[in-house]
Amino acid sequence: MSTIETRTATGADEAAVRKAIASTARPPRPTAASAALTFAWRGMLKVKHVPEQLLDVTITPVMFVLMFTYLFGGAIAGSTGAYLDYILPGILVMSVLFTTVYSGVALNTDLTKGVVDRFRSLPIWRAAPLLGSLLGDTVRYVLGGTVIIVLGVVLGYRPGAGVPGVLAALALVVVFAFGLSWVFTTLGLLLRSPNAVMNAGFMGIFPLTFLSSVFVDPDTLPNGLEDFVNANPISILASASRGLMEGNPDMGDILIVLGTAAAIAAVFMPITTRLYRRG
């Protein structure tokens, strides 16, 4: 057999492989929480190794802040400063919600590679890969949101409620995003390619963001549209964030936002888990 020589020259070292094979006892299975946190860790490693993906979703909102504030700000709100106060919490919402689409894209990418097969053949809590990945994604949401807030401050935005208000708003947006991201993981499991998930995701989230109070005060809209915009959860999230950042939080809005997030998660979490299990 000529393979003996090639082995020592290039690849696996025989003695080391034998030792590696022999040396493991099976540890007790990880707890559900530990498995989920391991997947969250994986998500954060990806932020480190593939930062482009975070950039992709951050650049659009940054451009929107600049464009809307300086191009339309004066026309819409009388001055760019006044409009920045209005739009910044809205863009925070937009920025974080756009990032949720990528949770579905990432899951679909995993499926098209073989790595999901390995996860599914491990003796772990079956929802751990999904829950953990989304927990890891919340780090992404926080980063994306922070970029927008820092940009706002640089441009002269001074939130009335200061740092605590901003943190509360960011937390609310991230919690809502966590709920919403289950919609996109469901899409991620149903559609055939990462691109299809991206297109379908933005086809939904883009118009919903524009038909909300993110950019303009709904009072200025024609009646039918105004009703729609007022009922849009993204509007409620935007005004709740605005309230928190300005220092006049509306508990009603906040509760609606949290309730909506919980409802979305309650419907789509089981669907996602079921689809993932089926493979």
């Binding site: 696996a12 073989g114 053949s121 493979g279």
Partner: protein, 322 residues
């Protein structure tokens, strides 16, 4: 009698109208490599995916190391590991991170997972590439990492789906060596392959599968015997000498097959000595030879002998794997 590691009866899985697996029975003894041999689309991957509890069979049943794949999937997952046809590693992480990830998911503590990752990277010749992203690995490195990930905790049974498809010969030999060492260490391996040579090199028993059914079973020797033999392939320096070569080979070995290549011919030949004599006879006759080989029957020849049709590629398996 060794206990059976896998005992499958009448496994069926259909995707729409296509019965990808159509009543597969398998009896895989513990402690050896068992080969499942077949062309693309024969149902190999689907069979493995059922046994590894990734998909549920539509009919039939199977026990893996004593655990039922439908009613006790978690128990099965606790004792097997899977190396899929697509390398089942995360391209966006480094090799080291991949192994730590799997170690943590198997329940190792952080320090133990790191230590184990380092040990495996060293053993599989990946220590230098440990901190590189897997997307920059070569096919052979990726495969080795994949197998390393499968033995972070040494499994009792390992599913290997076409572990050397697409690898260069050197990487293929490395993977074969690793498989041999795993078996020597006591792991049972179910190996899916399209290559008779691979099954012949590694497996003690082989099931040949076609259109979702097992069409033959036995040791590599028995299978090859059922096909008849291997063949002597000769390529001449001068295509003009082919009639002469044909005469000599026909006299030495029997019916000669003229290849599409005008300088090439082949003839059935099971016996190395007689093959060598035939080559010597060619040289004595003044026929100049560019190269010659005494090969085992190919999968195509096995299939031709067993089924009457060649191992044509099919689209079903790709769909099933997707």
């Amino acid at each position: 009698m060794t206990p059976l590691a896998i005992e499958a009866t009448g496994l069926v899985k259909a995707f729409g109208e296509t019965r990808a697996v159509d009543g597969v029975d398998l009896a895989v003894p513990s402690g050896s490599v068992y080969g499942v041999l077949g062309p693309n689309g024969a149902g190999k991957t689907t069979t493995i995916r059922m046994l590894a509890t990734l998909i549920r069979p539509d009919a039939g049943s199977a026990r893996v190391l004593g655990h039922d794949i439908v009613s006790e999937p978690d128990a099965v997952r606790g004792v097997v590991s899977l190396t899929g046809q697509l390398a089942s590693v995360d391209e966006d992480l480094t090799g080291r991170e991949n192994l730590i990830l799997i170690g943590r998911l198997l329940g190792l503590r952080r320090a133990a997972a790191k230590e184990r990752a380092a040990e495996l990277l060293e053993a599989f010749g990946l220590a230098e590439a440990a901190t590189r992203l897997v997307k920059n690995y070569s096919g052979g490195m990726r495969r080795r990492l994949d197998i390393a990930a499968s033995i972070v905790v040494t499994p009792q049974l390992m599913f290997l789906d076409e572990p050397t498809t697409g690898l260069d010969p050197r990487s293929r030999n490395q993977v074969w060596d690793i498989i041999r060492m795993l078996v020597a260490g006591g792991t049972t391996i179910l190996l899916c392959t399209q290559y008779l040579e691979e099954a012949d090199q590694l497996a003690e028993g082989i099931a040949v599968i076609d259109h979702g059914k097992v069409i033959a079973e036995g040791t590599p020797g028995q299978l090859k015997a059922s096909v008849g033999s291997g063949a002597l392939h000769v390529r001449l320096l001068d295509p003009g000498q082919r009639p002469e070569a044909e005469q000599v080979l026909a006299r030495e070995l029997g019916t000669v097959h003229l290849e599409p290549d005008p300088a090439a011919l082949s003839v059935q030949c099971a016996d190395g000595d007689r093959g060598a004599e035939a080559v010597a006879a060619l040289t004595r006759a003044g026929v100049r030879i560019a190269d010659f080989s005494l090969g085992q029957p190919s999968l195509d020849e096995v299939f031709l002998a067993l089924t009457g049709h060649t191992a044509e590629p099919d689209v079903e398996e790709q769909e099933a794997a997707a």
